[in-house]
């Protein structure tokens, strides 16, 4: 089991907040603060310096996207702060805005529906805390339906690979999922980066850029 994470949790529904604390604790993490609005979230991050922030999008007082706004501000102040945003609905705009902060690493955007799959949820939490990028499969699925430039140049297989990368999976995980070798995945990713016109740089960074291109397409 990975090292216990210090987590600040923001969720206005008491029911869900308690549930989330339960799930996170069950997987060995420590919820240092569980708050109910955006202002308290910012304050809690300042006083606890957590390893990860998990926040709802819709929060008091306005019940629109206060949680997301707070997360964006926190990321602007500290681009290295991992943030996992939970949303009740798929919103490409939310995910794109979130990935625009910092260099797009250490962020996640998940549907609340995923929390129920507690093991996958815990995995996503750990991946984001470790600097990974997690985008909800539903967002990815919608994007795949769009078939628009610059993604038009990608083969179906390459799109599959990119979708899995967008979900935050490593080359190894992608290879296992598609039942191919890791080398084949590497080759696909190379082709994707070439087709999306992303020049060689640090590998993780380019992967995030590819995901970003995917989201903005």
């Amino acid at each position: 089991m990975p090292a216990a994470l210090k987590i600040v949790l923001a969720e206005d529904s008491v029911l869900l907040r308690e549930g989330l604390v339960g799930v996170l604790t069950r997987f060995g993490h420590e919820v240092v603060a569980a708050v109910g609005d955006a202002e308290a979230l910012t304050a809690a991050v300042r006083s606890y310096a957590p390893d990860l922030v998990v926040t709802d999008v819709r929060m008091p007082p306005g019940l629109t996207d206060e949680g997301l706004r707070a997360a964006l501000e926190l990321r602007a102040a500290d681009p290295a702060l991992p943030v996992l945003v939970l949303s009740q609905y798929v919103q490409r705009a939310y995910a794109a805005e979130l990935l625009d902060t910092g260099d797009g690493t250490g962020v996640g955007y998940l549907l609340k529906d995923r929390i129920g799959q507690v093991e996958q949820f815990a995995e996503a939490v750990e991946r984001v805390a470790a600097g990974g990028t997690v985008v909800d499969p539903e967002v990815v699925r919608q994007l795949l339906r769009r078939r628009r430039d610059p993604l038009a140049a990608l083969t179906p297989r390459e799109r599959e690979v990119l979708a899995l990368v967008a979900e935050g999976k490593s080359n190894g995980a992608v290879a296992r999922e598609l039942v191919v070798t890791e080398a084949a995945v590497g080759k696909h990713i190379g082709n994707i980066l070439g087709k999306l016109d992303l020049p060689p740089a640090g590998d993780t960074h380019r992967r995030v850029l590819a995901v970003l291109a995917f989201l903005r397409a």
């Binding site: 529904s13 029911l15 799930v23 629109t64 009740q88 929390i115 129920g116 507690v118």
Partner: protein
């Protein structure tokens, strides 16, 4: 020629007389008690004004024009055939807020209220006595003459003579029959002026009791505004339902799914199987609920406006959609009407058009929002057939907007909407 005119006017007068008489007679029946009420209210109000209790009485006197006006407008219905025009509509506007105080405040500031008061005073002090006089003149005098033989018959016992209408002394049936003949001639001669008087009288009432042109226009504005209010109320209700589902049912389901997920971790295999089934069920319900909520009111529209909401609608479309939209934020009803129109268009494209691609164009120029949805399908779409588009057209009409569908057989189908609106 002249004979025809005379014959026609005599026929008209005979036909209109009963209505004219009914109108004038009911005017007397309304006016006489009204005079009493006005005098009582006025004198009591003025006398008690120093004690302040008189002031409400005076206010009632001022507002008494309103029910009298309403009654008189109904009474004008009697003259419908007489003046060849329908009775005038109520000139008052509906108060925006409930309560007697708001009503009284509005009424006291309306010109119609004061015109009605003027009419009421006129009716109480001048018009009904005049009506009575005319009735008496036109019917009473000839009536007395016509009734001369009868009068003579009843008075013969007292001396065999009588005064007709307190004027002429007659003492024989010959004279009496002459009187009758004279009465009939007089009656026929007076019917025409009687009807004329009733017409003029109705015209005067109409002048004071019908809404002025400005008031009619304001009422039309009022109708449009109340329609817009209705749409806004529906919109608010939509948002409330969305929020309730969101903050209630959805949260509980997520919580349930979470509990089931945790329970599965530690459950023995035979129980885990059942829990997994329950979990799948809960997740399916969550998925359906999420789609339902999105259909009621997509949150992205409120948070990010039309461009993102339209891109989102395009994402969900079965047919690939290109989006070229560059728009500022608009008022909520505008954004929502445009969004739902586009979504309906995309749904139609997915269902009927056979199109392979579609495209949404949106721009804002000269204070008008224009959105166009175009597909490469087979065309032949008929907006009159589907109720979906008609409803959306109605909704746009409230905003002074228009919706048009151009869909020749063989395609392509272009749906365009236009709404004049300021940007937010």
């Amino acid at each position: 020629m002249i004979r025809t005119v005379v014959r026609d006017s005599v026929r008209d007068a005979l036909r209109d007389t009963p209505r004219a008489v009914a109108y004038l007679l009911s005017g007397v029946l309304v006016g006489a008690p009204l005079l009493v009420v006005l005098l009582v209210l006025g004198t009591a109000g003025l006398a008690l004004a120093p004690l302040l209790v008189g002031l409400p009485l005076l206010a009632v006197a001022v507002l008494s024009g309103i029910p009298v006006g309403a009654l008189e407008r109904r009474r004008l219905d009697l003259t419908r055939a007489l003046t060849r025009t329908p009775p005038p509509p109520d000139p008052h506007i509906t108060p925006a807020e409930p309560g007697l105080a708001a009503w009284a405040r509005l009424r006291l500031t309306e010109r119609a209220t004061w015109r009605e008061l003027a009419y009421t005073l006129l009716l109480g002090f001048v018009l009904w006595p005049l009506d009575a006089l005319v009735l008496f003149g036109a019917l009473g005098m000839p009536g007395a003459l016509i009734g001369a033989p009868a009068q003579l018959a009843t008075t013969s016992s007292t001396g065999g003579d009588t005064r007709i209408a307190k004027l002429w002394l007659i003492d024989s049936y010959g004279q009496a029959l002459l009187c009758t003949a004279l009465g009939v001639v007089l009656l026929l001669a007076l019917l025409w002026p009687l009807v004329r008087y009733a017409r003029v009288r109705a015209a005067l009432a109409r002048l004071l009791l019908a809404p002025s042109e400005a008031e009619t226009e304001r009422r039309l504005g009022e109708v449009t505004r109340s329609r817009a209010r209705l749409v806004a109320a529906f919109e608010a209700e939509r948002r409330r339902i969305e929020r309730d589902l969101h903050d209630g049912a959805q949260q509980r389901l997520v919580s349930l799914s979470m509990t089931l997920g945790l329970a599965r971790l530690d459950a023995p295999p035979e129980l885990a199987e059942l829990l997994a089934a329950a979990h799948r069920e809960a997740d399916q319900v969550l998925l359906e609920l999420r789609e339902l909520i999105h259909g009621i009111h997509p949150q992205v529209l409120a948070d990010y406006g039309l461009p993102d909401a339209l891109a989102d609608a395009a994402d969900r479309s079965a047919v690939p959609v290109e989006v070229a939209v560059d728009l500022p934020r608009f008022a909520e009803p505008v954004e929502s009407a445009a969004y739902f129109a586009v979504r309906e268009a995309l749904a139609n494209i997915g269902r009927h058009s056979g199109a392979e691609r579609a495209r949404i164009d949106g721009r804002y120029t000269d204070g008008r929002l224009r959105v166009e949805v175009r597909d490469d399908g087979t065309g032949g779409a008929d907006p009159a057939r589907g109720t979906g588009l008609t409803g959306l057209a109605d909704r746009l009409a409230v905003l002074d907007g228009t919706l048009s569908v151009h869909s020749p057989a063989g395609g392509p189908t272009v749906l365009s909407l236009e709404i004049p609106c300021p940007q937010r």
